[in-house]
Symmetry: D2
Subunit: 371 residues, 4 copies
């Protein structure tokens, strides 16, 4: 039982602090024979990398991944894969000012209370830098999924920044990669740019909502009642820094629906598989995937490190005012997109392996047939 690990059979343990020499992911349980190299993992890390637009932290990290074990001649061997990323731009001096004061909304006070250690260097283990290790592990999970279930596609995007939401009528998959906000709605992306420009000038930050969709996921994944695929997705997303809410399909709005409205009607599709009239369920019934799109949504709170003065206390219990300079993301939700995709890739792969263990057969094969 490691509390820095997640996953059942595809087990990822992340390690490392914001300003230590390195961070990484120790991944155990990756099947053998998966074609993977550093470039394939780097591809996803580059998507998360800081400093790619003026809306993310200006910290400059190359985020170059090294595969230290578990891969031989371009294939996984079935043994643990160590994915290491060296930290290169740790300007610890930026943080000297806040070594004594706790930032409101930040984990530094609770880490201090729990551990009695104050690693003031950029948040230490609580920093969002830890998510680079998740993205690396997710890159490996994607490579494995590609060989086991080549039709699975995992795509994340922002649906909301502060008061501005996307318009679902304008949703366009192709647009997502065209703007720095991973917005599926070009007009919303423009609104966000304006909003964020004003916000940055004022030294403030803002929350966001992220949605991740996995298409091509077979029916049958998930293990009731505490290894449900939605349970694992909720845990995976909630474990990401700053996340305060997680929804599957209808999410919190399910509270408003009647049974008649909510139940997705079932028909037979042309390929002999069930099709559904709608997807209120977000692709999951009873904790098991239905074969529809898996739809997960979550909210990220605004970064607590801001230039606006806030009241706080020091380690010695004195009242103080705090302004956090450093280099911070004004909307940490933007960089949460690739992180959430990575978490979803890990959860799906994990459940493919579990399903295979419990049921047998090829990846994605179910035991019960319809028709």
């Amino acid at each position: 039982m490691s509390l820095n690990s997640f996953g059942h059979l595809f087990r990822v343990t992340t390690w490392g602090e914001s300003h230590g020499p390195a961070l990484g992911a120790t991944v155990d349980g990756c099947p053998p024979g998966v074609a993977v190299d550093e470039a394939m993992i780097q591809h996803w890390l580059d998507k998360r990398k800081p400093g790619t637009s003026k809306y993310t932290t200006q910290r400059r990290e190359a985020d170059e991944v090294e595969i230290l074990s578990g891969v031989f001649e371009g294939q996984t061997t079935g043994t643990p894969v160590q994915l290491m990323i060296r930290n290169t731009d740790q300007r610890s001096k930026d943080y000297g000012d806040i070594a004594e004061k706790f930032r409101p909304g930040h984990a530094d006070i609770t880490y201090w209370q729990k551990y009695g250690i104050r690693d003031y260097r950029g948040g230490g283990r609580s920093s969002a830098r830890e998510t680079a290790a998740r993205v690396a592990a997710g890159g490996l999970a994607r490579a494995a999924l590609k060989s086991l279930l080549p039709n699975v596609e995992i795509t994340g995007y922002l649906t909301q920044i502060g008061p501005h939401k996307i318009d679902r009528e304008r949703f366009d998959w192709a647009e997502i990669g065209n703007n720095v906000f991973w917005s599926p709605d070009a007009i919303a992306a423009g609104e966000w740019a304006d909003y964020m420009d004003a916000l940055r000038k004022s030294g403030n930050s803002v929350g966001a909502a992220v949605e991740v969709v996995a298409r091509g996921v077979p029916a049958g994944l998930g293990a009731p009642v505490y290894g449900k695929i939605d349970t694992d997705l909720a845990a995976a997303m909630m474990s990401i820094n700053a996340v305060k809410g997680v929804e599957i399909g209808e999410g919190m709005a399910a509270a408003e629906l009647t049974g008649e409205e909510n139940a997705d009607e079932i028909f037979m599709g042309n390929d002999g598989n069930p099709v559904y009239s709608s997807n209120h369920a977000g692709g999951i019934l009873g904790g098991i995937s239905t074969g529809q799109d898996l739809v997960v949504r979550f909210a990220v709170k605004p970064t607590s490190s801001i230039l606006k003065p806030r009241q706080t206390i020091t380690k010695s219990g004195q009242s103080a005012e705090i302004i956090t300079k450093g280099r911070h993301d004004p909307c940490v939700g933007i960089r949460a997109v690739p992180v959430a995709e990575a978490m979803m890739a890990c959860v799906i792969l994990d459940h493919v392996l579990l399903h295979r263990g419990q049921i047998g057969g090829a990846a994605g094969e179910t035991r019960g047939k319809i028709g």
Copy 2:
């Protein structure tokens, strides 16, 4: 790794189906010396029991718990506690009609696809009856918390049924036990009664939102980055039948806030502990409890077993119309309240034990001091 288990050190494994001979919880890791007997656990089961009002299922289950192990002369021994509940009112014949058809919105189709076994008797393992075992385990967790941290109080209540929400201005802790909806707002309870009466007549069902608050929780509980207390709470709540969204503190609304609005300012309290100006964080920063109230909220979708006709398919792939008679909860969210309280009790106790293991000292003691 059991997929029907949750918790790290206080480890609960539930077992049993809706219409089997019995169901229960195997609880490992309860500390020794906890005063507990069947009556103490029965108290909580009675709160969840079916048939207590016209708004819940009319199935008649005594839900009497037997302690089969782990308790000797009124105290836990430190060995596994087996909590068993016999099923007594399994009218399987009610379900004969739906043995071939899949209910839209119900887990019977995914269980069939995954396992190739159709336990049509009342949903088998996917039935909300499984939650009786959770409530029993939660009763044990509460007994242990009572001896370790007597100030912890865990209270759940409904905040929304369908379109009707409580008014936070009218929130009254004392009201919660006065109505069959666990509503902290007497006026909302009245609206819900009217709404539910109409709904029941029409053979429909409806969703709900539940909030659970734990007061008196010490700072320092939670183990970043994948054993965060919010991660474990999110998983615990999402694992409850029909839950589609989970929120901590501000929850999904955090997407709308600025950093200035969201960050709870910190002051020193008279007792030498930090106090906060607000609780947007829901009592958790960086996955660790702050000492404020822990606030969790979740949405429950409407029961899928309704009298309204819906389109579906049969096991052999034929189109069919379905109406589910049986005896079902028109708003399963009502009975989710004691279940959610139980899950929260288990998560808190688990983290008290983990914290004690990692840090040492008495329950709730932190390592870092302020002031």
Copy 3:
């Protein structure tokens, strides 16, 4: 992480005390579709049952198993299987005498020290009665193995009681079921009967050695480096009451061999699989099964409850002499045979499921081919 559980995917949690109302095994992860009923499990319990000869405890327990969950219409459903055995012959009064004194060589002193609870009734949780639950779980594992790998045969037998060992030259599989000692050597069985008769009269007890062999196990099972199949077998056997040593293949005698003597030479068999000139390895290389017989051996210490007076102390720290009356096994090793078989069945099934999860394909299929 439950400390009363073992197994990775086939996860067995035992619960219950010697003199509580019941004991049992909660088994999670059994694949769906396994044909099983109470009679199939009872078969193995009857083999372990007390009172079957004058060389085992005279306690009279029916040891009747009830399947409370996870089986529907004669097949496992893929959900947790609860196997419960009611205790019926708990003569607690026999133990009144020793409620204050600690038995030398018995766990009652360490349980007291650890838990501060004295369940003096027959050893409580530390009693060998707990092993009935293991045998029940093993019966389920055997049923699952029968459907997945019908050629696997698991057989245990005694190889030594006190100073008397079997003669390997006289080894006869067919003899094992013919005597009350599970001896593969009829002559040794006769010696043991004489030896045990004298021992019983003197009120003494004696140790024993047990060997378990699994034939028909495919190559490829085991997950280096901490889920090796020999690691899991060592843990499984050492966890049985009174076991003090575990050996694989050559075991402790490997210390004496040279590399030339020890290395089993490899040839191609007629069926296209490797064959080995010998089996010093006990069927395991690098923690992975070779396809040869799995051979595990272990020593059981003599029962500590004897009629011979021994020096001890009381709970209040006073010196005392102790004689244990009760009804005890003079050689607990005899009844360890079916227990060890059960543990081996569980470990093999568990690794079949793990292998299937990691590698895919049918049970026992390997990824690397030879030839």
Copy 4:
């Protein structure tokens, strides 16, 4: 559930292959505030380092450890500790000759069968080089034990090489560090030197027996019935490369003893704690430590890589003769001593943390008092 991890709360995951760029241990669950630096861990690695005498492999590895995370300003922070060791002397060409042939007694055939990947470079993951990571993790465990239980002393030594055993009458703790065999008997060390010189010349290898003793371990550690401290020690030792048998206290010899002989009589000591007349139990009763010395013994088989020609097969199924050149330990048991000490340190620390979690209080405090 990672199969390359061990420990419950102090959780060690090792990673890396013999000839990859690096190997290491990801350690989660180390308590905060432990004073540790690279030199303290290096101390133990130097003890295991290859090439320190003519009786171990001549591979030249500096085995320099880097702490990449979890330590800040000379103290552990409570977050994962990454211990990395770069491989520097990977002469892969030595192994070219055996890329196609399987070594009798070696894991290369089973790894191939299981994974379908042939990492012929020095045994890949199955190499004893993996144990360097264990020693590093053990160094951290020792540092933590030093702060929690300063009286614990863990010492390993050889008791047998091939046919030559130590004489227990000559046992001398002080002698252990004086010879290259970690022998507590100077005369045996001399015999071993002569024996090994002859063996090396003949190109053969030999087995050995190792004993590890932990003194100063408090009563109460261990969690029945599957997290017993002897169960965990058996698993820990059996997981070490080439180990074929594990014994606690009397070990396999317990089969020969009567109850009267075996039961260690109990008295009250001057310090108010129980003392025992003997230690047949090896310091463990019912899976829980008694406060006596913990005594574990295990046998290591001879290295399979020898210069003696042996019959084998190739990957394509052809018969072949094999001689393994490379640089191998003629008696791998010698270097197993520091590895076993490391494993014992990890197991003891893990159980200290578990005990503290379940019982509370200071490290080593028990709940039940005597007297």
